[in-house]
Amino acid sequence: MSETDTRTTEEMSRRPGRERGRDDGKFGRYGGQYVPEALMPAIEELADAYERYVLNNEDGFMDEFRERLADFGGRPTPLQRADRLSERYDTEVYLKREDLLHGGAHKLNNALGQVLLAKYMGKERIIAETGAGQHGTATAMAAAHLDMPCTIYMGERDINRQRPNVFRMKLNGSEVKPVTTGRGTLKEAISETMRDWAETVEDTHYVIGSIVGPHPFPVMVRDFQAVISEEAREQAIEKTGGLPTDVVACAGGGSNTMGTFADFVDDESVALHAVEAGGSTLEVDEEEGVAPNSASLYTGDEGVLHGARTKLLQDSDGQIMESHSISSGLDYAGVGPELAYLVDEGRVDPVAVDDDAALEGFHRLSNTEGIIPALETAHAFGYLEEHHEELGERVVVNVSGRGDKDLDAAIEETDQRDVANAPDMSMFTGGM
């Protein structure tokens, strides 16, 4: 029996690895609350609710959250040994199967937590932004499950890239509002959702989808997602008799990353690798304001975006760059302030994997392990292929989501490239 079995919910939420940022939302020089004054009272109200319900389990909030995560979400998710990857890399590779969580991605952990919290706070309406649609679908599911009206803002370009997810949100009863400003991706959707919130703040809760935004969102989302590392750590000890040497997760805004790292941060022997989207190149086009990647941890500079000070893709004036990645879920110019801090501290190793390597990773996991990963997740497997020789003998990789939503994009992207390990898809792409 593992030691964690005797701990209460409350004790778990008090793990030292999760104390960072709880008091004031600061992670070293990062974090904070850079929002319009009109939103400050709502954020203070949320910080108060976070402390009461999440940290102190008032009214049994955390117990209900955990129960719903189990019954509705299907937790715990397995930690599975990847036999063929282990053989290929001559190291033990374990997969944390968040793709098996209800909805097919880790996103439900946070969405369910926040929608439930909104209910405890007496809010009557949910709004959320979404990039790839994973957070939007998770929020729509949670809102339907908990009987809350829900509006999702989504960039027009993302809507076109992710149609099945748009249908899923609508099937669950949510309203989907297209955002047409800018390039029509995640950062515009976040700005638009903040505008809605500025008008409706008194009865509406904004479910932010990642560990970004003003305090208390980064700590709160981390705490809801930390169930990934809580389980993975325990499962690794149970299955292998010890801690992993390395933990690998892809990073966009950083919610699956921080969720996977949270309880390992204090285990100094465990190396933490945050794999960002290297896109087509790490070079930026300052003239056009375009960074053809989403590697804000790896290449970004400090700045203030969407309520927090963090690492950003920006030009020398401080205008935010248009990021790019084949995976729309990683396509964001910022990153969670806690990750920015952990990178500066040398605790988290930021790495970038380009579109080509991610696509190869997508095919490798699909055809060797029988798991079709999300294109976001595929970056972690691209990293494994490129850097396995630098890793220790026991590696945990978070499979943050399944790839069903990405099939069209994956087929199209594969068709445009010479991907060594891809099957012949020409019969599906009009090439026959």
């Binding site: 609350q33 929002v35 009109a38």
Partner: protein, 281 residues
């Protein structure tokens, strides 16, 4: 209470008319003619918008203006050149988002931006994504260079926050008339009167903004106790119409000047109508 004498003077003689335009919308030269038209129309303080790519506090009208300006090549340095070249009597205040202030120039923090702003004749700053809690370094730089730092008070701002904000504010306080983002509205909310009541005890000029578009509204708001009115979207709408209808710069400038006169006169009527002496707190 005020670092800048010019801003203090703007509120000293009757109600202040405080218009806002996005600098560089739709292009540098037209924009200069538009700002100067506001001045001729009676502006006491002019808020000059420096566009940021992620303007989370703006509604669609101003957001589109910011995009037009950015597309036409506006940068912080061009903005400062613009402010330097302006020939206006009104005091100038820069409204922008914190990341642009933070990134400007060599070295850390907001000081280089404030130093440069002061050198170009800008007298104050409004930063909609910078609440009092995060404003320490900017406040310090503003004090050093004699700029005012204007804070926004929202209908949702609670009493304890109000006290803290009022300790940090200088020049004037921007009273947000209603919840939501910027944008012209037909009605001016009851929240305005409520907000002004709450602010009565603080000895700083109160300028009301968000949604004012007519002289009648200006009159109503000043009669209700405001020391000034801030008008943005209604003016930006005129610039947008000029773009849509392909009007000459002079025609757009004339419209801006005319609306400015209407607003300023409305504010003055409102001021005269305050026949009763202000109740002492």
């Amino acid at each position: 209470m005020a670092n800048s004498d010019a801003v203090a003077a703007a509120f000293a003689n009757g109600p202040a008319y405080v218009p806002y335009l996005v600098v560089g919308d739709p292009d540098y030269e037209s924009s200069k003619a538009y700002v100067e038209a506001l001045d001729r129309g009676g502006a006491d303080v002019i808020e000059l918008g420096l566009p940021f790519s992620e303007p989370i506090a703006e509604g669609s009208t101003i957001q589109e203006a910011l995009v037009r300006s950015l597309d036409a090549g506006m940068t912080p340095d061009r903005f400062f050149a613009f402010a330097e070249e302006l020939d206006v009597d009104a005091a100038l205040v820069c409204m922008t988002y914190y990341n642009l202030i933070y990134q400007y120039g060599e070295g850390e923090g907001p000081r280089p931006f404030v130093e440069r702003a002061a050198a170009t004749g800008i007298q104050g700053l409004v930063v909609p994504d910078l609440p009092g809690e995060e404003a320490g370094p900017l406040r310090e730089a503003c004090d050093e260079f004699g700029l005012d730092l204007v804070f926004i008070v929202a209908p949702t701002t609670r009493a304890d926050r109000l006290d803290r904000l009022m300790e940090r504010v200088s020049g004037y306080v921007y009273v947000q008339a209603r919840l939501g983002t910027t944008g012209a509205r037909d009605d001016v909310s009851d929240q305005t009167t409520e907000s002004l009541d709450r602010l009565r005890e603080y000895d700083v000029p109160k300028a009301v903004g968000f949604g004012i578009s007519t002289g009648e509204q200006a009159e109503h708001i000043v009669a209700g106790g405001a020391d000034g009115i801030i008008v943005g979207s209604a003016l930006v709408d005129i610039v947008a119409e000029g773009v849509a209808e392909d009007l000459s710069t002079a025609a757009v400038a004339d419209r801006l000047e005319a609306l400015s006169r209407e607003l300023k006169e409305g504010a003055e009527r409102g001021h005269r109508s305050r026949t009763e002496p202000v109740e002492s707190a």
